[in-house]
Each structure stands twice: as C-alpha cells, then as structure tokens.
Symmetry: C3
Subunit: 340 residues, 3 copies
C-alpha cells in the first residue's frame, strides 16, 4: 500500500544533470527527470503517449525531452510541442507531469493530486545544506517492500544484534525502552543508554578512553523519513561539552519503487569541526557497512515471509513505535481514500 | 495472437546440418529439425510421446531421431519405429510432424492444418539465391511479442530517430509520408526522400560527393515478412544509372517463438558488382548495428507497456500502415477461426 | 504432492556442525538445524515467531539459537527462552520443531505428526556405517519435482541411452525386463543382463578380459529411497566368487525441497578389500558424471512438460515399476488424508 499525498525523494540533486535525462520509478510509476534551462527540475511520466516508448531513451533538448522512437517532443509541462511530419500538434497530446521541489540537496516529487501539494510537509534535512555540517550522500536499492524497512528504522533494539560489530556494540540498546511521542505526521522517538562501549563506527571520529553514554533522538515522518540527532559522550561527562562529544545528524528516506522494491536515500552528517574528509569517509564507510547488514537481514526476512505463507507476526513491547506508525499510515490512507 | 495458416521461417538452411538435430520453438511449440538421407528437412514435435523428454536431446540416426532417454526411435513422418525391449511397436505411437519447405536458403514450417499448406504463399526472397546478388545471413532473438516488431517495420519514420547514426541520418525520412497500397496478403509501402545526406551505413558501399535521393519500397506480407528494394543516387541523377547508385535488396522475417519472444531472421543483399566480401561485411555491420538499435528501443517499449498497465497507444498519421496491417491480421485470424 | 508421514534425509551428518547453523528447506518448509551440547541434532522452523526473520541468520549459543534481528533465543524444543528487555518470556512464544534421527551418517526429519514418527521406517543404508565398506557422500540439487527423478530411478532401461558412456554401455539393459516384487512400503526390483561389456565406470575397480554378467537388485521405498546391490562378474563365472567380482552397494534418497525442486542425496560404496582411496574416488567420479547425465535429461524433460501443456505421458511395459510406485504413493497420500 502506498500513500500518495506525500513528497517522495526521487533523487539526489546531483543525479539530475543540466544536460541529460534520469529515469526512476516511484510507487510503480516510471518517471523521467530533467532540468529546464533555468535549472529547475521537471518530472514527466516516462512513457510517450504515442506508442508508449520510454522517453528516458530519448534526448534532452533545451526545455524539452524528445522521444527517441518517433521524435515527438514534450515540454516540462508534459505538453507535446512537436510531431515530426505534422504542421500542428493534435490537441490533447500530452504526458502526465508531477510537482517537483528541490530542497536540501534532494529532489522530491509529489505523487498525489497536484493541487494538494503542500511544501510545509518537506522534511528538514538541514545538515545537507548547512555550512557547519559535512555529509556524504548515500543510496541503496532494496528488493523489499518499504514497510519492512520502516519497521526496522522504528525499532533500534536491532542495533544490538544486526549491528553488533558496527553501530551497536552492546545489548544495552536492546534492553533500553524508548520514549515515543506523537508529533505532526509522525513520531518522535528517544533512546538513551548509559555506560556502554563506544560503537565500532565511532572510531573514525574520536577515541574514548572509557565507557560512554549514547543517545538517539529521531523524528519518523510520513511517508517514511527519519531525521536523527545522535551521539555519545564519556560516561558522566556534562551535557553539551562538544570537546568530548560525538554529535551526528542523519536523514534516511524510503521511497517505494514498486510494491516489492524500495529506494533508500540516506546521509550521515557530522559537524565540520569534528574532522576532515578522512573522517567523513570513515563515518560513511561505517554507516554503509551497517546499512548493508540491515539490507541482508531485511531481505532474508522478506524472503521468509514470501515463502512461508500466512504466519502472522507477533508483537512484543519493542514493537510499540512501529505499530503506532503502521496505524498512522493506515489512518492517512483512509483519509486519502475519503473514508474519514 | 498467432496466425497458424502461414509459412514461418524456422531456420536458415545451413542451421539444419546433414548430421545432427536442431531444436527451435515456433508459436510456443517446441520442434526438432533434422535432414533425412535424401537431404530433405523433417520437423517433429520436440517431445517424445512416451515420457515427454525432448527428442532434440537424443540422436540423429539415418532417417530417424532416437530419444536419448529410453531409446524410442521416430521416422521423418513422426511414426515410432522402435521401442527397445518390444518386438513390435504399439499402434498409434507417434509424434506430430509439420510440413516443411526449403526455399531461398530458408527453412519454412507450416503451422496450420497440413492440408491447407499453400506453397504460393512463400515469400520471394530471391536475393539469397541469385548469382547476381550477394547476401549475409542474420538472426536476432527478441524478448518481445512479434507485433511490436512488425509495428516498427511498418513505420520507417523511426529511421530519423532510432537510426540517426546508422540507417537514417536525416529527419526528412520522418517528415515524408509513404504511399500505402494493399496487395495480396499484405501491403506495399513506398517512401522517397530527396536531397538528404547519404546515411552512415552507405559508407561501406560508395562515397557520394553531395546529397542524395533515397527510396524504400517494400512489401510487408503475412505473417510478418518484409521484402524490400531500397537505394540512393546523387540528388537529381537520372533513375537507373547503376554506376552512380546504391541499390539493395533485403528480407526480414518475424517468427513468434512464444507470446512474448520472437525470432528475427534477416538478410541484406547487394548486387555482386557493387563490391567484394569487404563490402558485404561492411554492409552487414551497418545493418546489424541498426537492428540492435531497434531491439533496444522495442525492448524498452515492451518493458514500459508491461509495467505500465492499461494505457492505450495513440494513433498518429505516421501509424497508417501499421494500423492497416493489424486489421489485416485480425481479419485473417477471424477467417482461421471460422468466423468469416 | 508430498507425503508427510515419512523420514526425509535433510542432511549428511557432517553438514550439521557442532558449532553453527544449517538452513535447509524440506517440503516447502524452511528448517534450521543445529547440534545441542550433547551432540544431538535439533530441527526448528527457520522463522522467528516475532517478525519472521530466518533464525539461520542468527547465532548458535549452547543449546539454543538466537535470532540475529532482535535477539530472541529459542531452545531445541522451539521454546523461546529469552526476549531482550523483558524480565519474563510471554507464554506461547515458540517455533515449530521436527523430530530428528541420525542414522547411518544421515540426518532424517519427520515431516508428519510427531506422534506418528516410526523409527522402523528408517532405511538401512548400512554401507555408510560399516567397517567393511567404503563410501563417499554425494549431493545434487535438482530444479525438478521429485516424482520425475523417482520415475528415472524406477526404470533402469534408461541406462542404455542416458548412460551409454558411463553406467550403461549396452542396449541389453534396456531390452531386459526386471522382476518387480511388492515389499513393505515399496518395491523390490531385480534386473540381470548376461554377456555384456563391462561398463566404463567399472574401469576404476577392475579390468575384465571379456564380457560380463551384471545384476542390479534394489529396494525402492517410501518416500523415495533407493537401496541397491549391484555388480558384475566374468560371463559364466560362478556366483559369489568375490575374487573376480565387482560388488557395490549404494543408496539414493530424494527429499522434495519445494513442489518443483529436490535434494538428491546419494552414496556409492564398495567393499574395503576392493581398493584404496583412488578406487573410491574413481568410482565416485564415474557415478557423479552419470548422475549429471540424469539431471540434464530430467531437467530437459521437466522443461518440455512445463512448456508443453497438457499432453499425457504414454505408458509402455518398461514403466511397470514406476506406475506401481506412483500408485503406492497415491494410496499412502489417501491414507494420510484420512480417505482410507
């Protein structure tokens, strides 16, 4: 099931070049993206209305895309502006377009009715666009429905097991119970653990000479975006002592490609003062390794679900946040369907 | 949808050896081909009637094929002539056979009722079998239904876009409108363009020191065979001046393998006087490169159709021939079904 | 169709290590196997009851397996014994277990109701567990339903054709008619051929300086286990003259993985006095080569059946044993279903 009245990350800004076309599928719909001459991004259905060839196999020409099969040209509004061999273009020749916003280095498309598009609902992924922060862009492709990945992000108890050798490092994370608070279009989730070893991926950032206290505070917003402050400081050190802290900001955004595959856009940012390019790279390597651990586990889980028939999942206290978020999605879907 | 009362190219003659078996699927039916001792080709269903093993995994023995699983032997008429361990063969032990004709270096099978097989309907692919012409045989496999490839061959406006760098070279081809005339079991299509650059693939044949006039005149016949005269001469030169012309003959035949895959047999011939083996090879390389361009585009189109649900194609003037041919196929299918 | 009230070989004993987990699918059900500290093998459903992740991606800890996603631990009886972050385990948290027996180097699971598990039905694969015999374990994976492989094993006439260059060597095997006798839960099948060339794979064992007499005597038991004595001696030599004989024992066991794939466990044993490791290896190489011949043919047969629609197989006298065994399976299935 997909929500439609949402901004979905469709690409990193740098993926849409000033010359050329980008094909990407969102909610099962094939899109072609390109920049007009003023630099703004257009998103069109990636099927020529003539014989249904993908426009992304054609050519970017100024403010238009030209189909590579029979040469029809379409502008950024999806209107056909040329049919080779015809003096005038027949009325109604057009392909669908999607509202697009570029924000914090991400290109978002609105998949619902265009008139309902609401810019207030764009996530605040500030650390990709702030002079005091440094990030590296990331992307993974999942052959898994988006919900299972959202489940994963909504319950960090898995850090103790899936990420024992990377992000985790202690079973204390699984034993801790998070605070869960409703916020607009989402949940705020906070988890703290005291006096645990520094996790392996902190090694790129700072050496601690003793156990640390760690915190994870994140908003998880519709459709499926995680915005997180996290960090650690020497056990017992006073809050806010940036000289002895690790302090990170990250964003992870799930965009369903199809019912059973998902785009996973992510970035992990650190304050600029915390280190140079080597630190950025070390942090990225730690994160990508961990996200591959997730992908392996969630893909295996999805495989077991597909093969295994109708067995229901069993809910435990650790599932509180993911159950609340699943209900939020269902309410929103009912609202979109006009049922509420 | 398949027409059955047709000759379909199943193989180039040289693909059926004097010793050995050839397996090929036509209209979803697996066939095994072999030559009897008099050199004629037999086509049998490629499934032993005993336990359904493919006969093509067995052995060619004289005028028979022997199943490689339990040793049953079948003659060119499909009759079982030996069951190991039995003195006499039980009556009725047989596999289906198909009428076969070898003509102009191609092996054709008749997929309808054998008594309706009509040799008059064999296409005249003369340039594969004529001392004044030189050809090179070609084959491509498509993971695409045959109709989309027929559509492509029935509208040459795509030459300007798909084949810009190979067979085309000018948007004049897309702007020109062809003559379309009904003929027996097909259409005759003629397109001329005046004063255009010589297309890149002509370079193997002749250098022109100015723009040329080009022509494409082809019959497109049931089930899906293109027989074409094409060529070019210096713009304004008189017709028939063979010293200054490029004049080609080609044949392209589509044979459905399954509902969603197609055998594409083709040849491009030139008059012997136009050049030696190097010319033949250069011409073939130009053509195969172009046909790969078609395959990439049509495969992408088919992908978009499969993924994209029920969107209808939109017909434009350039689609006149393909729409007429689709109607011809439908009429013929209705006739086969006894509806007319 | 699967029988459930059977012991199925799930692994060679050496495949289940003292530390670690083995994942294997039987009758479409994913299992995880491990050894408890006393060395016995436990078989659990390979899906955590919490969020359905495969337990085989977790960790073996003493007598338990711990899920690698959120850390639940299960003992050899499938009971959940720990949920991270909970003081007590909620009642009823468990995964399914399967009865297991280790016998003659093979690990068997019982796929029916546990209380019906009957150790008397374990096959007597003695030559894997006897000081006078030497064997080498083998395994092949088939993308084919188990019934087609059972058919193959129940009609050795295919040795003359499929195994002409390995196990066969003479059409006399196909011409011979076997004795077929019903036994408890199966059939006993005997076939003898006189004065034939020694088959190529005997070369590893003994050189014969003339034609030999060969015998194949095997029990084929539910669910699909072949236990065979086979051998050959110089034509006309007296029975039991071990100095001039080749005498072999083998076992082949089919375990359905899914409706369309099969585990094929096998071993070919020879008397210890017949040769050293080189002989064992040579014999194994002869057998594996032949079993690959079977797999190629049966896979091709299955391909032809899948693609070819509803054509029925035609029964010949050589099919007597396989038809009897298919009826036995149907009777047993009806009994399991409570229909008889």
């Amino acid at each position: 099931m997909f929500l439609r009245d949402c901004w979905y990350v469709v690409a990193w800004s740098h993926e849409v070049p000033s010359q050329g076309l980008l094909a990407r599928t969102v909610l099962g719909e094939a899109l072609v993206l390109f920049r007009t001459q003023d630099g703004s991004v257009a998103a069109l259905a990636d099927r020529c209305c003539h014989r249904l060839a993908p426009l992304s196999r054609g050519r970017h020409e100024g403010d238009c895309v030209r189909c590579g099969y029979h040469g029809l040209a379409f502008d950024a509004h999806g209107r056909c502006v040329e049919v080779p061999g015809m003096e005038t273009v027949p009325p109604g020749l057009a392909v669908r377009t999607y509202p697009v916003v570029e924000h914090n280095r991400w290109v978002f498309v609105w998949m619902g009715e265009p008139e309902r598009a609401n810019r207030r609902w764009l996530p605040d992924n500030f650390s990709c666009d702030h002079p005091d922060w440094v990030y590296r862009p990331g992307y993974l492709h999942y052959e898994v429905p988006w919900q299972l990945i959202a489940d994963n992000l909504l319950d960090f108890s898995h850090l103790s097991y899936v990420h024992e050798a990377t992000l985790g490092g202690s079973t204390a994370i699984a034993r801790a119970r998070p605070r869960i608070d409703p916020i607009e279009r989402g949940l705020r989730i906070g988890r703290e653990v005291k006096s645990v070893p520094a996790p392996p991926y902190y090694a790129a950032l700072r050496a601690f000479d003793g156990p640390i206290d760690r915190w994870f505070i994140y908003d998880f917003l519709l459709p499926a975006t995680l915005l997180m402050n996290s960090g650690g400081r020497l056990h017992g050190a006073p809050e806010g002592d940036s000289a002895s802290e690790v302090h990170l900001h990250s964003c992870q955004a799930l965009t369903p490609e199809t019912e059973s595959s998902t785009h996973y856009f992510f970035q992990q940012a650190h304050p600029r003062h915390l280190g140079d390019e080597k630190v950025t790279e070390g942090l990225y390597q730690g994160v990508i390794r961990a996200f591959e651990e997730d992908r392996a586990m969630i893909s295996a889980q999805y495989g077991a679900i597909r093969r295994g028939g109708e067995q229901a999942m069993m809910s435990l206290p650790m599932d509180a946040a993911l159950l609340q978020f699943r209900r939020l999605v269902e309410r929103e879907a009912a609202r979109e369907a006009g049922l509420t």
